[in-house]
Protein backbone atom coordinates (compact mmCIF):
# COMPACT_ATOMS: atom_id res chain seq x y z
CA UNK A 1 0.00 0.00 0.00
CA UNK A 2 1.16 3.55 -0.62
CA UNK A 3 -0.14 7.02 0.15
CA UNK A 4 -0.83 9.13 -2.92
CA UNK A 5 -2.47 12.42 -3.78
CA UNK A 6 -4.63 12.52 -6.88
CA UNK A 7 -5.95 15.73 -8.49
CA UNK A 8 -9.47 14.77 -9.53
CA UNK A 9 -11.98 17.23 -10.96
CA UNK A 10 -10.03 20.18 -9.58
CA UNK A 11 -9.61 18.86 -6.03
CA UNK A 12 -6.53 17.20 -4.58
CA UNK A 13 -7.55 14.03 -2.74
CA UNK A 14 -5.29 12.02 -0.43
CA UNK A 15 -5.79 8.27 -0.47
CA UNK A 16 -4.04 4.99 0.22
CA UNK A 17 -3.84 2.58 -2.70
CA UNK A 18 -2.49 -0.88 -3.37
CA UNK A 19 0.05 -0.93 -6.20
CA UNK A 20 -2.23 -3.15 -8.27
CA UNK A 21 -5.23 -0.82 -7.94
CA UNK A 22 -6.08 0.69 -11.27
CA UNK A 23 -7.00 4.35 -11.58
CA UNK A 24 -10.59 3.15 -12.14
CA UNK A 25 -10.52 1.17 -8.88
CA UNK A 26 -9.28 4.19 -6.93
CA UNK A 27 -11.84 6.54 -8.47
CA UNK A 28 -14.75 4.18 -7.83
CA UNK A 29 -13.93 2.46 -4.59
CA UNK A 30 -11.89 5.02 -2.69
CA UNK A 31 -13.24 8.32 -3.96
CA UNK A 32 -16.81 7.13 -4.52
CA UNK A 33 -16.78 8.45 -8.10
CA UNK A 34 -18.82 5.56 -9.45
CA UNK A 35 -19.71 7.38 -12.66
CA UNK A 36 -16.58 5.82 -14.16
CA UNK A 37 -17.88 2.43 -15.28
CA UNK A 38 -15.90 -0.76 -15.72
CA UNK A 39 -17.03 -2.99 -18.55
CA UNK A 40 -14.30 -5.32 -19.78
CA UNK A 41 -11.43 -4.29 -17.45
CA UNK A 42 -8.89 -4.98 -20.16
CA UNK A 43 -8.98 -1.94 -22.38
CA UNK A 44 -11.41 -3.02 -25.08
CA UNK A 45 -14.80 -1.48 -24.27
CA UNK A 46 -13.96 2.16 -23.50
CA UNK A 47 -16.52 2.49 -20.68
CA UNK A 48 -13.87 3.54 -18.13
CA UNK A 49 -12.39 6.34 -20.28
CA UNK A 50 -11.42 9.43 -18.26
CA UNK A 51 -9.31 12.47 -19.15
CA UNK A 52 -5.73 12.50 -17.85
CA UNK A 53 -4.15 15.92 -18.49
CA UNK A 54 -6.92 16.47 -21.03
CA UNK A 55 -6.25 13.30 -23.03
CA UNK A 56 -8.62 10.33 -23.05
CA UNK A 57 -7.19 7.33 -21.21
CA UNK A 58 -8.53 3.89 -20.29
CA UNK A 59 -8.59 4.12 -16.48
CA UNK A 60 -8.52 0.30 -16.27
CA UNK A 61 -5.11 0.25 -18.01
CA UNK A 62 -3.35 2.72 -15.72
CA UNK A 63 -2.49 2.20 -12.09
CA UNK A 64 -3.65 4.74 -9.53
CA UNK A 65 -0.07 5.24 -8.32
CA UNK A 66 0.89 6.35 -11.85
CA UNK A 67 -1.62 9.21 -11.82
CA UNK A 68 0.00 11.25 -9.04
CA UNK A 69 1.30 14.09 -11.21
CA UNK A 70 -1.76 14.38 -13.47
CA UNK A 71 -5.03 16.30 -13.61
CA UNK A 72 -7.85 13.79 -13.85
CA UNK A 73 -11.34 14.60 -15.12
CA UNK A 74 -14.19 12.15 -14.64
CA UNK A 75 -17.82 12.35 -15.69
CA UNK A 76 -18.61 13.94 -12.30
CA UNK A 77 -16.31 16.86 -13.15
CA UNK A 78 -18.01 18.04 -16.35
CA UNK A 79 -21.15 19.90 -15.23
CA UNK A 80 -21.02 23.37 -13.68
CA UNK A 81 -21.44 23.60 -9.88
CA UNK A 82 -25.00 24.93 -10.45
CA UNK A 83 -25.87 21.77 -12.39
CA UNK A 84 -25.61 23.26 -15.90
CA UNK A 85 -24.55 20.40 -18.13
CA UNK A 86 -21.38 20.44 -20.22
CA UNK A 87 -22.26 21.03 -23.92
CA UNK A 88 -21.47 17.39 -24.71
CA UNK A 89 -23.72 16.17 -21.89
CA UNK A 90 -26.48 18.53 -23.04
CA UNK A 91 -26.14 17.23 -26.60
CA UNK A 92 -26.35 13.59 -25.45
CA UNK A 93 -29.56 14.51 -23.59
CA UNK A 94 -31.01 16.46 -26.54
CA UNK A 95 -30.26 13.74 -29.10
CA UNK A 96 -31.13 10.68 -27.01
CA UNK A 97 -27.47 9.64 -27.16
CA UNK A 98 -27.97 7.04 -24.45
CA UNK A 99 -30.22 4.14 -23.62
CA UNK A 100 -29.19 2.06 -20.57
CA UNK A 101 -26.39 4.55 -19.85
CA UNK A 102 -23.65 2.11 -18.89
CA UNK A 103 -21.27 3.12 -21.69
CA UNK A 104 -22.25 6.80 -21.55
CA UNK A 105 -19.52 8.22 -19.26
CA UNK A 106 -16.81 6.75 -21.50
CA UNK A 107 -18.51 8.00 -24.65
CA UNK A 108 -19.03 11.49 -23.17
CA UNK A 109 -15.38 11.87 -22.10
CA UNK A 110 -14.12 10.53 -25.43
CA UNK A 111 -16.45 13.00 -27.15
CA UNK A 112 -15.36 15.92 -24.93
CA UNK A 113 -11.77 15.42 -26.09
CA UNK A 114 -12.87 14.99 -29.71
CA UNK A 115 -15.09 18.08 -29.71
CA UNK A 116 -12.60 20.29 -27.85
CA UNK A 117 -9.75 19.19 -30.14
CA UNK A 118 -11.91 19.97 -33.15
CA UNK A 119 -13.01 23.36 -31.82
CA UNK A 120 -9.39 24.38 -31.23
CA UNK A 121 -8.31 23.08 -34.62
CA UNK A 122 -11.38 23.49 -36.83
CA UNK A 123 -9.00 24.13 -39.72
CA UNK A 124 -8.09 20.45 -39.62
CA UNK A 125 -11.29 19.80 -41.54
CA UNK A 126 -14.95 19.12 -40.89
CA UNK A 127 -15.90 16.62 -38.22
CA UNK A 128 -18.28 14.63 -40.40
CA UNK A 129 -20.21 11.53 -39.38
CA UNK A 130 -17.55 9.15 -40.74
CA UNK A 131 -14.85 10.90 -38.75
CA UNK A 132 -17.01 10.85 -35.61
CA UNK A 133 -17.72 7.13 -36.02
CA UNK A 134 -14.01 6.45 -36.50
CA UNK A 135 -13.10 8.42 -33.37
CA UNK A 136 -15.80 6.70 -31.29
CA UNK A 137 -14.92 3.20 -32.52
CA UNK A 138 -12.99 2.45 -29.32
CA UNK A 139 -16.16 2.77 -27.25
CA UNK A 140 -18.73 -0.01 -27.35
CA UNK A 141 -22.47 0.48 -26.72
CA UNK A 142 -24.27 -2.84 -26.23
CA UNK A 143 -27.66 -1.18 -26.64
CA UNK A 144 -26.20 -0.31 -30.06
CA UNK A 145 -27.61 3.19 -29.90
CA UNK A 146 -24.88 4.57 -32.11
CA UNK A 147 -27.10 6.79 -34.30
CA UNK A 148 -28.11 8.96 -31.36
CA UNK A 149 -24.52 9.09 -30.08
CA UNK A 150 -23.17 10.30 -33.45
CA UNK A 151 -26.04 12.82 -33.61
CA UNK A 152 -25.05 14.05 -30.14
CA UNK A 153 -21.42 14.63 -31.09
CA UNK A 154 -22.45 16.56 -34.22
CA UNK A 155 -24.78 18.64 -32.05
CA UNK A 156 -22.08 19.23 -29.41
CA UNK A 157 -19.79 20.68 -32.08
CA UNK A 158 -22.60 23.01 -33.17
CA UNK A 159 -23.19 24.14 -29.57
CA UNK A 160 -19.47 24.76 -28.97
CA UNK A 161 -18.97 26.69 -32.24
CA UNK A 162 -22.11 28.81 -31.75
Amino acid sequence: MRDVELAVNGRVRALRVDDRHTLADALREQLGLTGTHLGCEHGVCGACTVLVDGEPVRSCLMFAAQAVDAEITTIEGLAQPDGTLHPVQQAFSDCHGLQCGFCTPGFVLTAVHLVETHVVDAAAGPLDRDAIRHELSGNICRCTGYQGIVDAVERAVEIRLR
Binding site: T22, G43, V57, H113, S137
Partner: protein
Protein backbone atom coordinates in the same frame (compact mmCIF):
# COMPACT_ATOMS: atom_id res chain seq x y z
CA UNK B 1 -10.53 -8.96 -13.07
CA UNK B 2 -7.59 -7.70 -11.06
CA UNK B 3 -3.88 -8.19 -11.58
CA UNK B 4 -2.16 -10.49 -9.08
CA UNK B 5 -0.36 -8.50 -6.36
CA UNK B 6 2.91 -6.86 -7.41
CA UNK B 7 5.16 -4.07 -6.27
CA UNK B 8 5.31 -0.97 -8.51
CA UNK B 9 8.76 0.59 -8.64
CA UNK B 10 9.00 4.10 -10.09
CA UNK B 11 12.68 4.78 -10.88
CA UNK B 12 14.05 8.18 -11.93
CA UNK B 13 16.85 6.88 -14.15
CA UNK B 14 17.56 4.10 -16.63
CA UNK B 15 20.29 2.75 -14.33
CA UNK B 16 17.85 2.46 -11.43
CA UNK B 17 15.34 0.65 -13.67
CA UNK B 18 17.94 -1.79 -14.96
CA UNK B 19 19.20 -2.51 -11.43
CA UNK B 20 15.74 -3.73 -10.42
CA UNK B 21 15.30 -5.76 -13.61
CA UNK B 22 18.70 -7.40 -13.07
CA UNK B 23 17.81 -8.55 -9.54
CA UNK B 24 16.53 -12.14 -9.88
CA UNK B 25 14.71 -11.89 -6.54
CA UNK B 26 12.59 -9.02 -7.88
CA UNK B 27 11.04 -11.09 -10.73
CA UNK B 28 10.51 -7.77 -12.49
CA UNK B 29 9.04 -6.70 -15.83
CA UNK B 30 9.25 -3.19 -17.35
CA UNK B 31 5.99 -1.26 -17.75
CA UNK B 32 5.81 1.25 -20.63
CA UNK B 33 2.38 2.52 -21.74
CA UNK B 34 0.66 -0.56 -20.39
CA UNK B 35 -1.80 -0.95 -23.25
CA UNK B 36 -0.73 -4.56 -23.88
CA UNK B 37 0.88 -5.52 -20.56
CA UNK B 38 -1.93 -4.38 -18.24
CA UNK B 39 -4.56 -6.54 -20.05
CA UNK B 40 -2.15 -9.49 -19.70
CA UNK B 41 -1.85 -8.73 -15.98
CA UNK B 42 -5.63 -8.37 -15.61
CA UNK B 43 -6.16 -11.77 -17.20
CA UNK B 44 -3.26 -13.12 -15.12
CA UNK B 45 -1.45 -14.33 -18.21
CA UNK B 46 1.51 -12.45 -16.69
CA UNK B 47 2.15 -12.39 -12.93
CA UNK B 48 5.46 -10.60 -12.28
CA UNK B 49 6.27 -9.80 -8.63
CA UNK B 50 7.58 -6.34 -9.56
CA UNK B 51 6.72 -3.82 -12.26
CA UNK B 52 9.34 -1.23 -13.18
CA UNK B 53 7.44 1.85 -14.35
CA UNK B 54 9.36 3.58 -17.14
CA UNK B 55 6.96 6.55 -17.15
CA UNK B 56 9.01 8.34 -14.48
CA UNK B 57 12.26 8.33 -16.50
CA UNK B 58 12.49 11.71 -18.21
CA UNK B 59 15.47 10.77 -20.38
CA UNK B 60 13.34 8.25 -22.33
CA UNK B 61 11.25 10.91 -24.10
CA UNK B 62 11.96 13.31 -26.94
CA UNK B 63 12.37 13.22 -30.71
CA UNK B 64 15.41 14.59 -32.52
CA UNK B 65 17.25 14.38 -35.82
CA UNK B 66 20.62 12.64 -35.82
CA UNK B 67 23.69 13.70 -37.77
CA UNK B 68 23.17 10.88 -40.29
CA UNK B 69 19.66 11.93 -41.37
CA UNK B 70 17.85 9.57 -39.05
CA UNK B 71 15.14 10.40 -36.53
CA UNK B 72 15.70 9.32 -32.93
CA UNK B 73 12.60 8.62 -30.86
CA UNK B 74 12.92 8.23 -27.09
CA UNK B 75 11.39 4.86 -26.19
CA UNK B 76 8.65 6.41 -24.04
CA UNK B 77 7.44 8.78 -26.75
CA UNK B 78 3.65 8.38 -26.77
CA UNK B 79 1.95 7.20 -29.95
CA UNK B 80 -0.28 10.30 -29.78
CA UNK B 81 2.90 12.39 -29.98
CA UNK B 82 4.13 10.35 -32.96
CA UNK B 83 0.89 11.15 -34.80
CA UNK B 84 0.99 14.86 -33.94
CA UNK B 85 4.69 15.60 -34.31
CA UNK B 86 4.98 14.94 -38.07
CA UNK B 87 8.74 14.55 -37.65
CA UNK B 88 8.64 11.32 -39.65
CA UNK B 89 5.79 11.07 -42.16
CA UNK B 90 5.57 7.27 -42.27
CA UNK B 91 5.72 6.92 -38.47
CA UNK B 92 3.00 9.57 -38.04
CA UNK B 93 0.76 7.96 -40.65
CA UNK B 94 1.21 4.38 -39.42
CA UNK B 95 0.79 5.39 -35.76
CA UNK B 96 -2.67 6.81 -36.49
CA UNK B 97 -3.66 3.19 -37.26
CA UNK B 98 -2.74 2.03 -33.74
CA UNK B 99 -5.79 1.20 -31.62
CA UNK B 100 -7.84 4.26 -30.70
CA UNK B 101 -7.11 7.78 -29.45
CA UNK B 102 -7.33 6.64 -25.80
CA UNK B 103 -4.83 3.83 -26.49
CA UNK B 104 -2.37 6.15 -28.24
CA UNK B 105 -2.52 8.59 -25.29
CA UNK B 106 -0.58 6.03 -23.24
CA UNK B 107 1.00 3.61 -25.72
CA UNK B 108 4.66 4.20 -26.60
CA UNK B 109 6.98 3.46 -29.52
CA UNK B 110 9.37 1.46 -27.33
CA UNK B 111 6.56 -0.55 -25.76
CA UNK B 112 5.10 -1.47 -29.14
CA UNK B 113 8.48 -2.56 -30.48
CA UNK B 114 9.29 -4.53 -27.30
CA UNK B 115 5.90 -6.27 -27.33
CA UNK B 116 6.73 -7.47 -30.87
CA UNK B 117 3.22 -8.22 -32.04
CA UNK B 118 3.69 -9.06 -35.74
CA UNK B 119 0.30 -7.47 -36.53
CA UNK B 120 1.27 -4.15 -34.94
CA UNK B 121 2.25 -1.18 -37.08
CA UNK B 122 5.48 0.05 -35.49
CA UNK B 123 7.50 -3.21 -35.68
CA UNK B 124 6.98 -3.36 -39.46
CA UNK B 125 7.74 0.36 -39.81
CA UNK B 126 10.92 -0.13 -37.75
CA UNK B 127 12.10 -2.91 -40.06
CA UNK B 128 11.21 -0.91 -43.19
CA UNK B 129 13.18 2.14 -41.97
CA UNK B 130 16.32 0.15 -41.04
CA UNK B 131 15.49 0.75 -37.38
CA UNK B 132 18.23 0.65 -34.80
CA UNK B 133 17.00 -0.16 -31.32
CA UNK B 134 18.98 1.36 -28.43
CA UNK B 135 19.00 -0.89 -25.38
CA UNK B 136 20.31 -0.47 -21.81
CA UNK B 137 21.22 -3.33 -19.50
CA UNK B 138 23.41 -4.03 -16.48
CA UNK B 139 26.53 -4.19 -18.67
CA UNK B 140 25.84 -0.85 -20.34
CA UNK B 141 24.11 0.00 -23.58
CA UNK B 142 24.09 -1.67 -26.99
CA UNK B 143 22.15 -1.41 -30.24
CA UNK B 144 20.19 -4.07 -32.09
CA UNK B 145 19.05 -3.78 -35.72
CA UNK B 146 15.24 -4.00 -35.80
CA UNK B 147 15.46 -6.91 -38.20
CA UNK B 148 17.49 -8.82 -35.56
CA UNK B 149 15.24 -7.82 -32.65
CA UNK B 150 12.11 -9.66 -33.70
CA UNK B 151 12.68 -13.35 -33.04
CA UNK B 152 9.18 -14.82 -33.10
CA UNK B 153 5.61 -13.88 -32.22
CA UNK B 154 5.83 -11.63 -29.11
CA UNK B 155 9.47 -12.75 -28.71
CA UNK B 156 12.52 -10.51 -29.05
CA UNK B 157 16.25 -10.89 -28.57
CA UNK B 158 16.11 -8.46 -25.62
CA UNK B 159 17.37 -9.98 -22.38
CA UNK B 160 15.03 -9.87 -19.38
CA UNK B 161 17.24 -7.28 -17.65
CA UNK B 162 17.34 -4.91 -20.63
CA UNK B 163 15.04 -2.07 -21.63
CA UNK B 164 14.66 -0.23 -24.92
CA UNK B 165 15.84 3.37 -24.53
CA UNK B 166 15.39 4.67 -28.08
CA UNK B 167 14.30 3.75 -31.59
CA UNK B 168 16.25 5.39 -34.43
CA UNK B 169 14.74 5.26 -37.92
CA UNK B 170 15.79 6.31 -41.39
CA UNK B 171 13.50 8.83 -43.04
CA UNK B 172 12.46 7.23 -46.36
CA UNK B 173 12.69 9.27 -49.57
CA UNK B 174 9.38 7.69 -50.61
CA UNK B 175 6.95 5.44 -48.79
CA UNK B 176 3.49 3.86 -48.95
CA UNK B 177 1.37 2.20 -46.28
CA UNK B 178 -1.80 0.09 -46.36
CA UNK B 179 -3.55 -1.95 -43.69
CA UNK B 180 -6.62 -4.14 -43.32
CA UNK B 181 -8.33 -4.83 -39.99
CA UNK B 182 -11.85 -6.19 -39.70
CA UNK B 183 -12.85 -3.54 -37.15
CA UNK B 184 -11.60 0.02 -36.69
CA UNK B 185 -8.63 0.02 -34.34
CA UNK B 186 -8.01 -3.73 -34.32
CA UNK B 187 -4.61 -5.22 -34.95
CA UNK B 188 -3.99 -5.70 -38.65
CA UNK B 189 -4.94 -8.88 -40.43
CA UNK B 190 -2.33 -7.75 -42.91
CA UNK B 191 -0.37 -4.52 -43.35
CA UNK B 192 2.15 -3.49 -45.97
CA UNK B 193 4.94 -0.91 -45.77
CA UNK B 194 6.99 0.09 -48.80
CA UNK B 195 9.90 2.46 -48.27
CA UNK B 196 12.85 3.70 -50.28
CA UNK B 197 15.64 4.24 -47.77
CA UNK B 198 19.28 5.21 -48.21
CA UNK B 199 20.57 2.24 -50.19
CA UNK B 200 17.47 0.56 -51.50
CA UNK B 201 13.87 -0.50 -51.17
CA UNK B 202 12.13 -2.24 -48.30
CA UNK B 203 8.90 -4.18 -48.75
CA UNK B 204 7.65 -5.31 -45.32
CA UNK B 205 4.46 -7.15 -44.45
CA UNK B 206 2.95 -7.43 -40.98
CA UNK B 207 0.41 -10.00 -39.81
CA UNK B 208 1.46 -12.70 -42.27
CA UNK B 209 4.04 -14.48 -40.10
CA UNK B 210 5.57 -14.54 -36.61
CA UNK B 211 7.66 -11.39 -37.25
CA UNK B 212 7.55 -8.50 -39.74
CA UNK B 213 8.40 -10.14 -43.07
CA UNK B 214 10.63 -8.61 -45.75
CA UNK B 215 9.83 -9.70 -49.29
CA UNK B 216 13.37 -9.75 -50.69
CA UNK B 217 12.24 -10.69 -54.20
CA UNK B 218 9.98 -7.65 -54.38
CA UNK B 219 12.75 -5.43 -52.96
CA UNK B 220 15.14 -6.70 -55.65
CA UNK B 221 12.65 -5.88 -58.40
CA UNK B 222 12.37 -2.33 -57.11
CA UNK B 223 16.13 -1.96 -56.60
CA UNK B 224 16.80 -3.12 -60.18
CA UNK B 225 14.23 -0.77 -61.66
CA UNK B 226 16.38 2.37 -61.19
CA UNK B 227 13.83 5.15 -61.69
CA UNK B 228 11.45 3.45 -64.12
CA UNK B 229 8.78 1.67 -62.08
CA UNK B 230 6.26 1.37 -64.88
CA UNK B 231 4.89 -2.13 -65.37
CA UNK B 232 6.51 -3.39 -62.19
CA UNK B 233 3.40 -3.69 -60.04
CA UNK B 234 2.28 -7.10 -61.32
CA UNK B 235 5.73 -8.62 -60.83
CA UNK B 236 5.92 -7.21 -57.29
CA UNK B 237 2.53 -8.63 -56.34
CA UNK B 238 3.50 -12.01 -57.81
CA UNK B 239 6.73 -11.96 -55.80
CA UNK B 240 4.75 -11.35 -52.59
CA UNK B 241 2.12 -14.00 -53.33
CA UNK B 242 4.71 -16.59 -54.44
CA UNK B 243 7.14 -16.22 -51.53
CA UNK B 244 5.04 -15.30 -48.48
CA UNK B 245 4.93 -18.07 -45.86
CA UNK B 246 1.73 -17.54 -43.97
CA UNK B 247 -0.65 -19.49 -41.77
CA UNK B 248 -4.25 -20.49 -40.99
CA UNK B 249 -5.99 -19.36 -37.84
CA UNK B 250 -9.48 -18.52 -36.62
CA UNK B 251 -9.37 -15.13 -38.36
CA UNK B 252 -8.35 -16.19 -41.85
CA UNK B 253 -6.99 -19.04 -43.95
CA UNK B 254 -3.44 -19.00 -45.26
CA UNK B 255 -4.78 -18.64 -48.80
CA UNK B 256 -6.79 -15.57 -47.81
CA UNK B 257 -3.77 -14.05 -46.08
CA UNK B 258 -1.66 -14.71 -49.19
CA UNK B 259 -4.22 -12.97 -51.40
CA UNK B 260 -4.52 -10.08 -48.93
CA UNK B 261 -0.73 -9.71 -48.71
CA UNK B 262 -0.58 -9.17 -52.47
CA UNK B 263 -3.64 -6.90 -52.50
CA UNK B 264 -2.35 -4.68 -49.68
CA UNK B 265 1.09 -4.50 -51.28
CA UNK B 266 -0.74 -3.15 -54.34
CA UNK B 267 -2.56 -0.61 -52.15
CA UNK B 268 0.69 0.46 -50.48
CA UNK B 269 2.21 1.02 -53.94
CA UNK B 270 -0.85 3.07 -54.90
CA UNK B 271 -0.60 5.02 -51.63
CA UNK B 272 3.04 5.80 -52.41
CA UNK B 273 2.17 6.97 -55.92
CA UNK B 274 -0.41 9.39 -54.44
CA UNK B 275 1.98 11.00 -51.96
CA UNK B 276 3.86 14.21 -52.40
CA UNK B 277 7.64 13.95 -51.87
CA UNK B 278 7.25 16.29 -48.87
CA UNK B 279 5.49 13.54 -46.92
CA UNK B 280 8.80 11.85 -46.16
Amino acid sequence: MKPAPFELVRPATVDDAVAVLADPAADAKPLAGGQSLVPLLAMRLATPATLVDLNTIGSLTGIDDTADERVRFGAMTRQSTLVRSRRHGLVAHASAWIGHTAIRSRGTIGGSVAHADPSAELPSVAVACDGVIGVAGPDGSRTIAAVDLFESMLETTLRSDEIITEVTLRRPQRWGFAEFARRDGDFALVLAVIAEVADGWRVVLGGVGPTPWRCRDAERLLDDSATDMSGLDEAILDAVADTVETFDDVHASAEYRRAMAAEFTARALADMADREPGDA
